[in-house]
């Protein structure tokens, strides 16, 4: 009996091997080919929750601001779409100086349902701290990109105020805090300018995971080449001699 079972197992194993060996030579109703067609589909669906910036209150137009001082940013967003914005819909904002230097990027999470046609005045404390003494700068708030909710696409929309930035202490005494960085979408590089005595640079994603990069220039202007598969939002942290800069950055 034992021999019978042993033989049974051996035979089954042999057949299993035969089965494997023959797999490439077996077949049936073979077509070797298939195709299928989708329905017509819009790549990015209609703007269900079309949010618009309708008022940019602070800092007011032509206001003079001091460098290295914290200011509040106040603006009004209105739902001009055809569906309400639900709680936890996260809308992405970018604050830029002179149209291309990103000062900060942040999410606004709707605290309550924002009905169609309703406006919400948002205030963001300590949102910017100028490290550049450029006079007559354009400070712009932009809603752009896709929110976390799949059906909450917002259109590109910006409001800008002209501001005068003054630097009562002079550039030299604030050398350590002058640095800023921006993203070049063509080269997929982050460019760091005017940082003094940089000791370490880190890039993190939204989950706080460190992201790899390649430093391809190490002089006064530092260029960080981003690797593939970077997320849309990153945080850059720069350690200089006395200060630590940490900013969000939107990759276009």
């Amino acid at each position: 009996m034992r021999n019978s079972y042993a033989f049974s197992i051996a035979l089954l194993l042999s057949l299993a091997c035969l089965s494997n060996l023959m797999a490439q030579f077996t077949g049936g109703n073979a077509a070797g080919y298939a195709a299928a067609t989708s329905v017509t589909q819009q790549l990015n669906p209609p703007l269900f929750n079309d949010l618009q910036l309708v008022n940019f209150t602070q800092p007011a137009d032509n206001q003079s601001l001091n460098i290295n001082t914290n200011y509040h940013l106040t603006f009004t967003v209105k739902n001009t779409g055809t569906y309400p914005v639900f709680p936890n819909d996260s809308i992405f904002f970018t604050v830029k100086l002179n149209a291309n230097i990103i000062i900060d990027s942040f999410f606004f999470t709707s605290p309550d349902t924002l009905q169609v046609g309703a406006s919400t005045n948002k205030t963001f404390p300590n949102i910017f701290n100028f490290s550049d003494s450029t006079a007559n700068a354009q400070l712009c708030v932009t809603i752009n990109g896709t929110s976390f909710a799949a059906d909450s696409v917002v259109s590109d929309n910006s409001l800008c105020n002209t501001i005068n930035i003054t630097d009562p202490s002079g550039i030299d005494s604030y050398q350590n805090s002058k640095g800023y960085f921006f993203y070049n979408p063509l080269s997929k590089c982050v460019i760091l300018k005017d940082f003094y005595d940089v000791q370490k640079i880190y890039i993190y994603d939204l989950m706080g995971r460190e992201m790899p990069f390649i430093a391809i220039a190490e002089n006064e202007i530092k260029i960080l080449k981003l690797l593939e598969n970077y997320p849309q939002i990153i945080f850059i942290k720069v350690y200089s001699e006395h200060l630590v800069f940490s900013k969000k950055l939107l990759l276009f």
Partner: protein, 525 residues
């Protein structure tokens, strides 16, 4: 290999053993090979910032395998069309990590992207999907997601598109040294002036000549000198080969993505833009009824200027794509230009003469007069059952279509000789599991026996055709077929030309369409 029934007879089995083996049989009987896309593709998770979207669909295919030697794969590529536009090739992402299967149903998936450098930029032309580990059996993958970089195609965020996914069963032919020539077949390759010695392709430069260690042939040969162009695909390096020749449904779907000018170029009937009445509705043979089992047709009345709709109608009853309309029959009446146009459009390329021999023989030593299935035994089909249907078969015992059998008179369905328990010889399969490499339809190859063929550098198709509808890739034999050849025999031919190493027509340059010409393509990863 011992057939199962003999094993039954030999062994005095207990009832339990018998039931266990019977179960194995029942499982095997369920096997087939047909790849199917089980759901209409959907576009999901668009990114307006990066201008990417995922093409999501379900796909199954049966009797898949992966061993330490090789594996089967499905070549996936996509075409898209904007509102009222023309079909364009979709550039997929070049990173295999951006492809996934949400529900693998027990079979791990793996992807390999086919990349072409187009105008200095790498573009994903298509992607191979295959088993992630060794094993055999059916595959049922749900929510396969391919990343389409629509921004690279110049498509805007607000555009509406329709997308087609195409799936072609392929077989991986691994890198390795192999033999060409068998010491017996007409016009065979051989080593130096020793006509009985096969020549080994080992990855080293190939020197032509009649001295030992050099490559020469007994015919279909223009007596070259020097060394073979180093970029000519010799078959030493790995490549993927279509498991079957182009089927009639496959060619119909191709035609239906072309412009009217391109359609007219890729068919035999006059379908020029001003034509509105078509008498020769069977467009590949330019006849009024199906010819030699080719059932590709259009309607009698067509609109001027706009693309024509083609379909299969082998039973000639005017209803399109019925279950016996020959969708899976190998497509004949393909000219060289037709075949390479399909290849360029699908991101594939023509096969070379030595690649043909490797795809048939594998790395084994040559056997004099062997066919693609590795023996000299051949049984021609004399009749067909379920003609035109998905389960079309030849008479029992046949493993090849050749010799102009009265009961056949044309090519047979691809994979028709493979059954749930067939051996290599019975199914007419090559060493790697590639079907119908001997018989059915002439295989078209890039010749090694002509100077024009030897300039071929193996560039893969990039998904695109020129305005006229022709392939336009550097160093491919052109529409005049100069540099091409024929291998593998056909349904009308005699037994001689079906041998792996027979190359009486190895540099026969024919640009015409006829009932014996089919096409099979490959791609270098």
């Amino acid at each position: 290999m011992i057939p199962y029934w003999k094993i039954f007879k030999i062994v005095n089995m207990s009832k339990k053993i018998f039931i266990q083996i019977l179960l194995i049989f029942l499982i095997k009987i369920c096997f087939s090979n047909n790849v199917r896309i089980m759901s209409a593709p959907a576009l999901i998770n668009p990114s307006p910032v990066y201008k990417t979207v995922y093409i999501d669909f379900n796909m199954s295919w049966d009797n898949s395998w992966r061993s330490s030697t090789n594996y089967d794969a499905v070549w996936l590529f996509a075409k898209y069309k904007k509102n009222n536009g023309v079909w364009e090739h979709a550039y997929l992402d070049t990173d295999e990590n951006n492809y996934s299967v949400t529900n693998e149903n027990g079979t791990a998936s793996q992807f390999e992207v086919g990349i072409n450098n187009i105008s200095g930029t790498n573009r994903g032309i298509g992607v191979y999907a295959f088993r992630g580990g060794n094993g055999t059996g059916n595959i049922n993958w749900e929510n396969i997601q391919l990343k389409w970089n629509y921004g690279e195609n110049g498509v805007n965020n607000t555009d509406s598109v329709v997308v087609q996914i195409f799936a072609i069963e392929m077989v991986y032919v691994p890198q390795g040294a192999f033999w060409i020539g068998d010491g017996a077949s007409f016009s065979r390759f051989h080593q130096g002036n020793n006509q009985n010695a096969a020549f080994q392709i080992s990855g080293q430069p190939i020197q032509f000549g009649t001295t030992a260690g050099s490559l020469w042939a007994t015919g279909s040969w223009d007596a070259p000198t020097g060394t073979l162009n180093a970029s000519y695909p010799t078959g030493y390096n790995a490549f993927y080969c279509m498991k079957y020749g182009i089927t009639q449904l496959q060619y119909v779907d191709f035609l239906n993505t072309l412009t009217r000018i391109q359609q007219n170029e890729r068919t035999a009937s006059d379908l020029s833009s001003s034509v509105t009445n078509v008498s020769n509705i069977y467009v590949m043979s330019a006849t009024t009824t199906p010819s030699y089992r080719n059932g590709i047709r259009c309607n009698n009345t067509i609109a001027a200027n706009t693309p024509v709709t083609f379909y299969c109608d082998l039973n000639n009853n005017g209803s399109m794509n019925q279950s016996d309309d020959g969708q899976y029959i190998a497509c004949n009446y393909l000219s060289w230009a037709d075949g390479v146009a399909y290849g360029a459009w699908a991101g594939l390329r023509p096969i070379t003469e030595p690649e043909y021999e490797k795809a048939c023989r594998g790395t084994s030593s040559s056997i004099a007069g062997e066919y693609a299935w590795g023996t000299t035994n051949i049984t021609g089909a004399t009749s067909i059952t379920s003609p035109g249907a998905a389960d079309e078969k030849a008479n029992a015992g046949a493993n090849c279509v050749y010799n102009n059998a009265t009961g056949v008179q044309g090519p047979i369905r691809v994979g028709a000789f493979a059954s749930s328990s067939s051996t290599r010889e019975a199914s007419g399969a090559s060493a790697y599991g590639i079907m119908e490499m001997s018989g059915n339809l002439w295989g078209r190859v890039v010749s090694l026996g002509s100077a024009a063929g030897r300039t071929f550098t193996g560039i893969n198709g990039n998904g695109n055709l020129n305005t006229q509808g022709n392939a336009a890739l550097n160093n491919w034999p052109g529409t005049n077929a100069v540099g091409s050849g024929l291998r593998g025999n056909h349904w009308k031919g005699t037994v001689i030309n079906g041998k792996i190493s027979a190359r009486d027509n190895g540099n026969y340059e024919s640009a015409i369409r006829n009932e014996m010409f089919g096409f099979r393509l490959v791609r270098t990863q």
